[in-house]
């Protein structure tokens, strides 16, 4: 037990801290530092790891690395076909998932009432987000590659990723739709507008930037996934650019897996370079999305 704290004005005052108060304060400070320590313990290793990636990968990266084909059995050269393939896969996946995701969010935010059916949809969304990526890969093989006969192709890989990242679009779009004040809609309905006119002319324009933020987030997610595209459309090594959506392609994420585990005699800095390009792409996308969101929140008038 600590000694009695000196009262501020000489004599004991009712506002002076008692021994119990002081002890409580000490416990609180200790606990606070403990939790700060835990937070740092979680984040520091990752920051250090990113630093190591940067330190070891940066020497490998040059304009040539980004624009040249891999040569000598992938032990030298650049990553261009993989980079291009990832961009193709992401674009096709976006084309497939954004309309469906936005429609789903519109349904949930503008049409659905709070009943068992809506709860079922929400449960399905949570599950779609929680199903392991390798199970999505199996689904892609069973459904798109075999059943619909797309073969291992960009189309099959993109559709698999589209299903997998659908929850990202739905959740972020729904949030930005719900952020549009109800009064906006009521004003519009009062003018005799139909529900759809209200959505198209009032709700969507007010939510569009929030929807874009979610789409950028989806791009980052799609670009980084590996397991779902391994068997549905991404090739280990294919030094040609795809000609149509029915072609296979290389992809950056799978390329990292291949050069770091499957190819013997790869110089040390090459996989670090690939990892850095991939993580750079993903983190830039995420930062853009976050900056966009912060900017929007500042500008918001209602």
């Amino acid at each position: 037990m600590s000694a009695e704290a000196p009262a501020p004005s000489g004599g004991p005052s009712m506002f002076a801290a008692t021994a119990r108060n002081i002890q409580n304060q000490r416990v609180m400070t200790a606990v606070k530092s403990l939790f700060l320590g835990m937070t740092l313990l979680l984040s520091t290793p990752v920051v250090v790891i990113l630093g190591v990636l940067l330190y070891k990968g940066l020497p490998a990266i040059s304009w040539e690395f980004l624009t040249a084909d891999p040569i000598n059995g992938m032990t030298a050269g650049g990553v261009f076909p993989a980079l291009f393939g990832t961009v193709c896969i992401v674009i096709v996946a976006l084309v497939a998932s954004v309309p469906v995701g936005v429609a789903a969010a519109l349904y949930l935010s503008e049409y659905a009432s709070d009943n068992w059916f809506t709860r079922l949809i929400n449960l399905a969304i949570i599950n779609l987000a929680g199903v392991p990526s390798i199970v999505h890969a199996l689904f892609g093989v069973g459904a798109f590659v075999l059943f619909f006969g797309f073969g291992t192709s960009i189309l099959a890989a993109s559709l698999t990723l589209a299903v997998m990242t659908l929850p990202v679009v739905i959740v972020s779009t729904r949030e930005s739709l719900q952020a549009v004040p109800m009064a906006f809609r009521e004003a519009c309905w009062n003018m005799g507008a139909t529900r759809w006119q209200t959505i198209r002319k009032v709700v969507l324009p007010n939510a569009i930037s929030g929807i874009l933020t979610g789409i950028i987030l989806e791009v980052s997610r799609t670009a980084g996934e590996t397991a779902p595209i391994m068997f549905t459309g991404a090739a280990f090594f294919l030094p040609f650019l795809p000609q149509s959506v029915y072609d296979q392609t290389m992809a950056l994420s799978l390329h990292l897996f291949v050069v770091s585990t499957q190819v013997p005699g790869v110089p040390d800095e090459l996989p670090y370079g690939v990892a850095l390009v991939l993580i750079g792409m993903v983190l830039v996308m995420n930062s853009v999305s976050i900056a966009f969101r912060v900017y929007l929140r500042r500008r918001k008038k209602w």
Binding site: G130, S133, L166
Partner: protein
């Protein structure tokens, strides 16, 4: 109002309502898409694994034998015990490491950090959650592996410890985010009432906030477990990928997910091995479904209470 109606020709009005009906239909189709896809995943994975389950599978062997020898010429066996234990040990290690740290971090960010610092922490955590799993796997392979060999003087650094730490770091941002949301969902009036009684911040957290947000925190842990359980690339690359009944953190193990990822490319479509891999997929689907359902019910529990 009446004037607007009269101004528009009846045709235009009809058209507007016609498009309204069409839009409603299209939007509804989008709305049920998630249900359709979840059903589709189950049907298509089941369809490919179907033959194995009803013809070749020996249920007892499947769950109790550690021998996963699908490529054996004369007597292929499909025992998943070692794979199940591999997944369980890595996920268990990750959860043990990540749960206290993420809950601590969530409490710090939600209750102690100032508003500006909170924003910055949340952005950092969001960025951490965005790192792709294949990059995590690469980190396990090229940074953690030599580090573990050096620190613990073991021959191989690709083991439960490596995969567990990697998985823990991967799951932590998600757990922290959900736990922080759960803490923030406790109404401020609770905090004010407790502080007005003279409680310190820590007493408020320990006696008021934590009990009030218990369910949300539990859901956070469950979703973290689900994430670890289903992770594929990172575990494939960092766990060593050799079939073992785990005995110590320095044993290499093989996970269910990693087995599918490593073997599916080498099997002939429709073969017994191929169907067995889809059966593993059904198992994974079922377990994550149960985890997600439980998490949802637990969260719904709080909504009912309040």
């Amino acid at each position: 109002m009446a004037k607007t109606q009269a101004d528009a020709s009846p045709d235009a009005l009809d058209m507007a309502w016609f498009w309204d009906r069409i839009a409603q239909g299209v939007v509804f189709l989008g709305g049920i898409s998630a249900i359709v896809f979840i059903g589709g995943i189950f049907i298509f994975v089941f369809k490919e694994g179907f033959g194995f389950i009803f013809q070749d599978m020996d249920v007892v062997e499947f769950f109790t034998s550690p021998a996963w020898r699908p490529t054996s010429d004369n007597n292929p066996t499909y025992g998943t015990l070692a794979l199940l234990l591999g997944t369980a040990s890595v996920t268990g290690f990750a959860v043990l490491m990540a749960v206290p740290l993420s809950l601590g971090a969530a409490i710090y960010i939600a209750e102690f950090a100032g508003p500006r610092a909170r924003e910055l922490w949340k952005i950092l955590i969001e960025l951490l959650a965005a790192i792709p799993s294949v990059v995590w796997g690469f980190i396990g392979l090229s940074i953690m592996n030599p580090l573990i060999i050096e620190l613990f003087d073991v021959p191989v650094g690709l083991n439960i410890l490596n995969a567990g730490v990697i998985l823990g770091l991967m799951a932590a941002p998600i757990m922290t985010t959900i736990a922080e949301d759960a803490l923030k969902a406790v109404p401020d009036t609770y905090r004010e009432a407790a502080e007005a009684q003279g409680a310190t911040r820590w007493q408020v957290i320990w006696r008021v906030i934590l009990p009030a947000s218990r369910n949300g925190l539990m859901a956070a842990v469950l979703l973290g477990v689900g994430r670890g359980f289903g992770e594929t690339m990172a575990v494939l690359m960092a766990s060593g990928h050799s079939i073992n009944i785990p005995g110590s953190p320095f044993d290499s193990v093989r996970a269910l997910t990693a087995t599918i990822a490593a073997e599916l490319g080498e099997t002939a479509q429709g073969s017994e091995h191929y169907q067995a891999l889809f059966t593993l997929g059904i198992l994974l689907f079922a377990v994550t479904f149960v985890i997600n359902l439980t998490a949802d019910l637990v969260v719904r529990g709080i909504r009912k209470q309040s």
